[in-house]
């Protein structure tokens, strides 16, 4: 374990940028403000690269650098240090967050150029990077939680960025509240972990330190299921899984770059990151892993179906994000943590690109988001179109785009783990993904333009600050997956190898647990044995090849179908709606009425309870009546007695004072 002073600056430089932008605000010109914000993130990115390079130069087993600022709190045996740490996992996340974040900062320069809250926007954005880096680089669970809450706060601030509109403000509130529900579970899980672990620790050991947790995983084994499920509640909130995904689509109320950065590329992956970080814990609980996998798979297919019927371009992408997050959860659930992180990375590239592309479209369409009035933008926005197409191919999983490698790997892990049902759900969702993405592309870029003539006149390609990030991200969407080029295709699965030390020990714990009688997941044992050496034998079978080819074909089929239905025979869709499919369509369009169901199940009863019991009974009756007025009455009664003493006669006060002293002195002298 080595120390690395740069780590603190990686985290603190964005905070500095946020502070400057936030405190000086309007006193900064837009140029300086933007330069400051982008510079801060850029510096952070460069430093991340430097630390990453240093990590590569180290032994694979000891790739960990730390930076301790001091002790945050130290109460008896409970101790929390202000520590930043970067290992292989942290390095990947740091590079993705600062890298993609930097590009989106650049993009924002153009996108937000005419906004009044320019400085405030960049202050929030930098603050977000700070919080996210705290989350990713935090050396213990408490620091992670600080970042976790920090990104939630920034998300709230940015969703409600245009707070003049009521809908935006309530979308922000919704995100915050739903996240709080998840955080509640997270906190309880942490408390449970802490109380279980504390009695077993020596003096001065930080209880939530990841190394300490890792070393004492055996102690936690009895409560592993409960802890993991509670933590997973937090993850469902942050990573928008069933049942707490509902905030993410509404979060599209924020500026589009924010959607790209926070609600697609970085923050929402925090849940996945947390599970990967605590993999040694999750592997101790097969139940928890099974739940993770199931929830992930169901979310993937569920959100994909909703995406089919949405008309708002950003809503489609939002549900697509939820679906992709389901994939990542699925990967974690089957024990393939490194594949999950791989998908986090590739998804960051192409989903950021998709959002930024849609932002470019919205920009061009004078803030119109409804796809039904778009169309034919292919010629007007050539760069946007090209890059958007690349991203579409990537998300659909077409070889050799980035999405192919990660998604295929996830499906293969599911299959090879023996979970055929999970594989089938994922496979189906992959097809649906290709289909709705094609629908989106067709409705937006092909056919006739359906916008009003007023809007049509203003359609123009975005400025360079916006298109350059698009191009960079497009290239990354193409080549970004190649670092995980699998063995069976002659590659080296370098990404998996890089992360392997992080997860290998977890797998060993799992395997060890199996020997010592603690129940673990069979899959994990298999995975543990199925290192790249063992994988040689498997790819001989050709199953992997088969699955890969099938999934590519499946994706292409989805794309072609989408093309056919929405472009060549546009009447098919309408026909489907009329011919009995209307019910299905309405169901999907209204997102399975989940919001309405929540409204009926929780919110309205909550209102009613608040109104009848809490307000009229508790607040007005108990608190106002008994506590407030009652205490006031008591004070009044006392006061009416004491008022006799407050007669304004200073000498009377002095007299009572001397009487008191006399009594006290007499008591002292006669009591002894």
């Amino acid at each position: 374990m080595q120390s690395e002073i740069l780590l603190r600056w990686i985290v603190l430089v964005p905070l500095l940028g946020a502070a400057l932008n936030g405190l000086l605000n309007r006193r900064l010109s837009k140029q300086i403000s933007g330069l400051l914000a982008c510079g801060a993130v850029g510096v952070s990115f460069v430093m991340s690269v430097l630390v990453f390079l240093r990590l590569t130069g180290m032994e694979p087993e000891s790739r960990l650098v730390q930076d301790t600022l001091g002790t945050w709190m130290h109460l008896g045996a409970f101790r929390v240090d202000l520590t930043f740490a970067m290992d292989q996992l942290g390095a990947v996340m740091a590079l993705v967050v600062t890298g993609v974040g930097f590009l989106i900062h650049i993009y924002s320069l153009g996108y937000m150029a005419h906004d009044d809250g320019f400085q405030r926007y960049f202050a929030y954005l930098n603050l977000f990077i700070f919080a996210m880096m705290t989350l990713v680089l935090g050396g213990n669970l408490i620091m992670l939680f600080v970042g976790w809450e920090g990104v939630g706060l920034c998300s709230y601030l940015l969703i409600g960025f245009w707070f003049n509109e009521d809908a935006n403000a309530s979308a922000g509130k919704k995100a915050f509240i739903v996240n709080r529900i998840g955080d509640f579970g997270f906190l309880i899980g942490m408390f449970l972990m802490g109380t279980t672990l504390l009695p077993h620790l020596g003096a001065g050991e930080g209880v939530f330190n990841f190394q300490v947790l890792h070393a004492h995983a055996g102690v936690l084994a009895p409560v592993a299921t409960a802890v993991c499920l509670l933590l997973f509640v937090g993850a469902t909130g942050k990573s928008a899984q069933i049942p707490l995904y509902i905030w993410l689509p509404d979060a599209m109320a924020g500026p589009t770059p924010v959607s790209a950065l926070i609600h697609a590329a970085t923050m929402v992956t925090a849940g996945v990151y947390m599970i990967a970080r605590l993999n040694f814990l999750f592997v101790l609980s097969p139940t928890a892993l099974a739940v993770v996998a199931a929830v992930g798979a169901v979310t993937a297919i569920f959100a994909a179906t909703i995406a089919l019927a949405q008309n708002d371009i950003k809503k489609v992408l939002a549900y697509s994000t939820v679906s992709q997050l389901g994939y990542m959860m699925l990967a974690c659930g089957v024990g393939a943590f490194s594949v999950g992180i791989f998908h986090v990375m590739t998804h960051a590239f192409f989903k950021a690109l998709l959002f930024l592309g849609s932002g470019s479209v919205i920009h061009a369409m004078s803030n119109e988001q409804d796809m039904r009035v778009m169309g034919g933008l292919r010629t007007r926005l050539p760069i946007t179109y090209a890059t958007f197409m690349a991203a579409t191919l990537a998300i659909a999983g077409v070889f050799p785009f980035a999405g192919f490698f990660s998604k295929d790997e996830i499906l293969w892990k599911a299959w090879s783990g023996g979970n055929t049902l999970l594989w089938a759900i994922g496979f189906l969702a992959a097809g649906l993904t290709a289909f709705y993405m094609m629908r989106l592309v067709v409705l937006t870029f092909f056919g006739e333009n359906r916008a009003s003539s007023e809007v049509r006149k203003h359609i123009h390609e975005s400025p360079a600050t916006m298109t350059v990030p698009l191009i960079v991200l497009a290239v990354l969407s193409l080549v970004g997956g190649w670092i995980g080029w699998p063995h069976f295709m002659g590659g080296g699965s370098w990404f998996e190898q890089w992360l392997e030390p992080v997860f290998a020990s977890g797998a060993q714990i799992g395997a060890h647990g199996a020997h010592t009688g603690v129940a673990t997941v069979d899959v994990l044992v298999q995975n543990a044995q199925m290192n790249h050496a063992a994988a040689e034998a498997l790819h001989e079978t050709g199953v992997e090849w088969t699955l890969a080819v099938v999934s590519v074909l499946w994706a292409v089929l989805g794309l072609v179908l989408g093309w056919f239905v929405y472009y060549k025979r546009a009447t098919i869709a309408d026909g489907f709606k009329k011919a009995g499919g209307g019910f299905v369509y309405r169901l999907l369009l209204n997102k399975y009425y989940v919001d309405e169901a929540y409204d009926a199940a929780f919110i309205r009863p909550g209102y009613r309870l608040s109104r009848s019991v809490l307000w009229k009974g508790v607040d007005a009756g108990l608190i106002d009546g008994v506590l407030v007025n009652g205490s006031a009455l008591a004070v009044y009664l006392f006061g009416s007695v004491l008022r006799l003493f407050q007669n304004g006669m200073i000498r009377f006060y002095a007299w009572t004072f001397t009487i008191g002293v006399a009594v006290f002195v007499l008591y002292l002298s006669f009591s002894s």
């Binding site: 407050q646 007669n647 304004g648 006669m649 200073i650 000498r651 002095a654 007299w655 001397t658």
Partner: protein, 101 residues
């Protein structure tokens, strides 16, 4: 008759009572402050007497501290009284009953 510590304590006690009674009886705020000074003086005598008893100069130091406190008290108190007089044209505490209303 030999003079003992008790003599000094009794003397201090009597002086203190004098100041105390004066503080309650007098109406003039200035005289009330003077009564406080007298009480402080009684305390000083006790300090000095005990310093003599123990042969330790600490008591003297405390008396000096008391001087400083008395000086501060006089400065601030008199300044406040002057200010009160400017507003109310009186230093009779029985006329200063604003606190009651």
């Amino acid at each position: 008759m030999e003079i003992t510590l008790t003599h000094y304590l009794v003397l201090a006690g009597l002086v203190f009572i004098t100041g105390m009674v004066g503080f309650v009886v007098r109406r003039n705020a200035l005289v009330m402050m003077m009564c406080i000074e007298l009480m402080l003086c009684a305390v000083n005598i006790v300090f000095a007497a005990f310093a003599r008893l123990h042969g330790d100069g600490g008591g003297h130091v405390f008396v000096l501290m008391n001087f400083a406190v008395a000086a501060s008290e006089a400065a601030i108190g008199l300044a406040i009284l002057v200010e009160i007089y400017r507003r109310r044209r009186t230093v009779n505490v029985d006329d200063l009953k604003t606190l009651m209303e």
